[in-house]
């Protein structure tokens, strides 16, 4: 299997789906001439022309809405946010329009579109450019929310997202764009709602998605040195959420730590923890723990930024808590 980067995997998914279906187009800031702010759309304008790779001015509300309208009447838009921080400007289109159209129109208009782009903290980009959006969008019925953590998932989930008949919020991670992995050539689809066990273990279940999976896998290594056998589960799609797989893992290990880079209050982890206690209370040997970013806007200084985000040591400490060690 070819080894390619997360960025190239996304690019391949876009290219293949655009080749397959003329109704698919990509629209956003700097996606064409500039080849993408993060080069995800490299080469696509050359291949598909500016009819299908459409550069926009800075007008997130406007072009997200253009996407919704085009989707209502038969196209399959992919709207790129240069970063999901700017999706807040378009949130009216995503929440009030894209997510509700199918229901409001009693099934007459569905919205087959993808909102995609990098989400989550990058490095020292400050409070307005460093935050996670999964919890905002997971709240909304009518949306699907996906968070790939590997190049293979990036490709397979994006292809599925483009073919999905509903609005999909597709959250990439800037910190993962350069990571590499094996990715199947050609037709490779990853279904939504299917978690991936990234590491098997019996001692504790660690649940994480997107960039946090890497941090959790590092933590699992450290835990192994302490004789703790961690299982790492990546839900991959957050809405729909594969609760069954999470429950199965927790029933096996009896302990669970949920790690997310978002803020603690109303974070997705709290919903997952609720579902776990409801489904496997009798199997739990300790209350479910969560590791989140600190409950603050992201500071700029590198040392503070590191402190704010979940680190291996925080995860190890949380695991020790659920194991009642020290």
């Amino acid at each position: 299997m070819p080894i390619i980067s997360y960025r190239e995997a996304l690019n391949a998914a876009l290219r293949e789906e655009m080749q397959r279906d003329d109704s698919v187009f990509l629209m956003g800031e700097e996606v064409g001439h500039y080849q993408g702010a993060y080069k995800v759309s490299q080469g696509l304008r050359e291949e598909f022309s500016s009819r299908r790779v459409v550069d926009t001015p800075i007008a997130e509300l406007g072009f997200a809405g253009v996407g919704v309208g085009a989707a209502m009447v038969g196209l399959r838009p992919i709207i790129e946010f240069m970063s999901f921080n700017f999706s807040l400007i378009a949130i009216d289109q995503i929440v009030n329009h894209a997510a509700k159209m199918y229901q409001m129109s009693a099934g007459q208009f569905h919205i087959p579109m993808v909102f995609r782009g990098p989400s989550g903290p990058a490095v020292q980009v400050g409070a307005q450019h460093s935050q996670s959006f999964e919890s905002y969008f997971c709240y909304v019925p009518g949306l699907k929310v996906v968070c790939p953590s590997t190049p293979a998932d990036a490709k397979g989930l994006l292809k599925s997202a483009i073919r999905d008949n509903n609005p999909v919020v597709f959250l990439e991670s800037e910190l993962l764009y350069n990571t590499t992995g094996e990715v199947p050539d050609g037709e490779h689809l990853v279904d939504f709602g299917k978690a991936d066990v990234r590491r098997e273990g019996k001692g504790v279940t660690l649940i994480a998605w997107s960039k946090m999976v890497d941090v959790v896998l590092d933590a699992a290594e450290s835990l192994e040195e302490l004789g703790i056998d961690a299982e790492v589960v990546d839900p991959r799609s957050l809405r729909p959420l594969d609760t069954d797989s999470l429950v199965a893992s927790v029933k096996k290990t009896g302990r669970c730590v949920i790690v997310e880079v978002g803020w603690p209050m109303c974070g997705l982890g709290s919903e997952i923890a609720f579902q776990l206690q409801r489904e496997c209370l009798d199997f739990l040997d300790a209350p479910v723990e969560r590791v989140c970013s600190d409950d603050v806007p992201m500071p700029y200084a590198n040392n503070l930024e590191q402190e704010v985000m979940p680190q291996v040591k925080d995860i190890v400490a949380a695991v020790k808590t659920v194991l009642y060690l020290d």
């Binding site: 500039y34 020292q124 700029y300």
Partner: protein, 340 residues
């Protein structure tokens, strides 16, 4: 100089920058402005260098080439006037009087920075200087600056709010709505569009259908002005007339200043979307060169005076770099999440 609403042609004439069109000035006026521009340039160069060795992280947007706009415009304001700006705000906050020490220490992420290392290059604020921020979301700060003007009018204060933004910001709702509200409520605002020809890699003609940004003012019966921004005195004079209109009659003005950034959009941008020739052509209008020439040729300031200024600036920035290097790490973010 106000071009006003009498003209509706797509392209308002911009005077050629030949000496006869330059506003008269004196050495007393120009020399300090020149020094400010030079300090901004040296400070930006020092930050670029620091970025390349990892002392500054994240995004860094330099204003090299645009110094006359922030310097001239800030000089047109009074200390009690408000300023709101984008992430490309280092020059504005410096021209406003925040020290190069506090600015560089901020970019270094140090405790001694103007916002204690919490904001970085894009988010500098100084209440003392009525500087309402460096903002990272394009257009988001425009209504905020309008809000400052709203307060001035509400309180009956004769204070003006100057809002700086780029050409690329003129397509977003925050700009359109801020403009509409300021016009409707007759608020004392000067909207200053620093048209540096590009929004990241997007040239103006791919941003808007109408190249003259000040045409947006027509929809609101708003005064407007449009000129080249390579002469700091010209910038100051033209902004002064908008500022005085705002102060005396509480009417907003939309000003477009044509300028150019000599570097990429940010440090990660190699600027492949423009030719070397284009950049060289614009460099001929370097505001520092222009000001220096005027000082030497027109105002008969001696070379020795300019050398002293240059040496003084060099020492100031070297000192600021040392200060940033040796300042303690930032250590405080928790106190500022919610106010008691």
């Amino acid at each position: 100089m106000l071009l006003g609403s009498m003209s509706s042609s797509a392209d308002i004439r911009i005077e050629p920058d030949t000496p006869e069109f330059l506003e008269a000035t004196t050495a007393e006026e120009l020399l300090p402005l020149y020094r400010t521009m030079l300090a901004i340039r040296r400070m930006e160069e020092a930050s670029a260098k620091a970025y390349s060795v990892g002392k500054i992280g994240g995004f860094l947007h330099l204003a090299i080439g645009q110094e006359a706009v922030c310097t001239g415009a800030v000089a047109a304001l009074r200390p009690e006037d408000y300023i709101t700006a984008t992430y490309r705000e280092h020059g504005h906050i410096y021209a406003r009087g925040v020290t190069s020490r506090a600015i560089l220490a901020e970019m270094w992420g140090k405790k001694t920075g103007v916002v204690k290392g919490l904001g970085g290059s894009m988010h500098m604020f100084s209440k003392e200087h009525n500087f309402l921020g460096g903002h990272g979301i394009v257009g988001g700060h425009v209504p905020i600056g309008v809000g400052a003007a709203f307060k001035a009018k509400y309180r009956g204060e004769k204070r003006v709010s100057a809002i700086f933004f780029g050409d690329g910001s003129t397509t977003i709702g925050g700009f359109a709505e801020g403009l509409a509200l300021a016009a409707l409520w007759k608020l004392p605002v000067v909207f200053i569009c620093e048209n540096n020809q590009y929004s990241m890699g997007t040239p103006l003609h791919r941003t808007t259908a109408a190249r003259d940004i000040t045409q947006r003012a027509l929809a609101h019966d708003m005064d407007r002005d449009r000129f080249d921004g390579d002469d700091v005195i010209k910038v100051k004079r033209r902004i002064v007339s908008a500022v005085e209109r705002a102060r005396e009659t509480s009417r907003p003005t939309l000003v477009e200043v044509r300028t150019y950034r000599f570097r990429g959009h940010s440090m990660s941008d190699p600027g492949l979307y423009r030719t070397r020739e284009e950049v060289e052509e614009w460099k001929k209008g370097d505001p520092l060169v222009r000001a220096k020439r005027r000082l030497l040729e027109e105002l008969k300031v001696g070379e020795d005076t300019l050398s002293t200024v240059a040496a003084d600036v060099k020492e100031e920035i070297a000192d600021a770099v040392r200060f940033a290097d040796t300042s303690p790490e930032s250590d405080s973010y928790l106190p500022y999440v919610l106010k008691d």
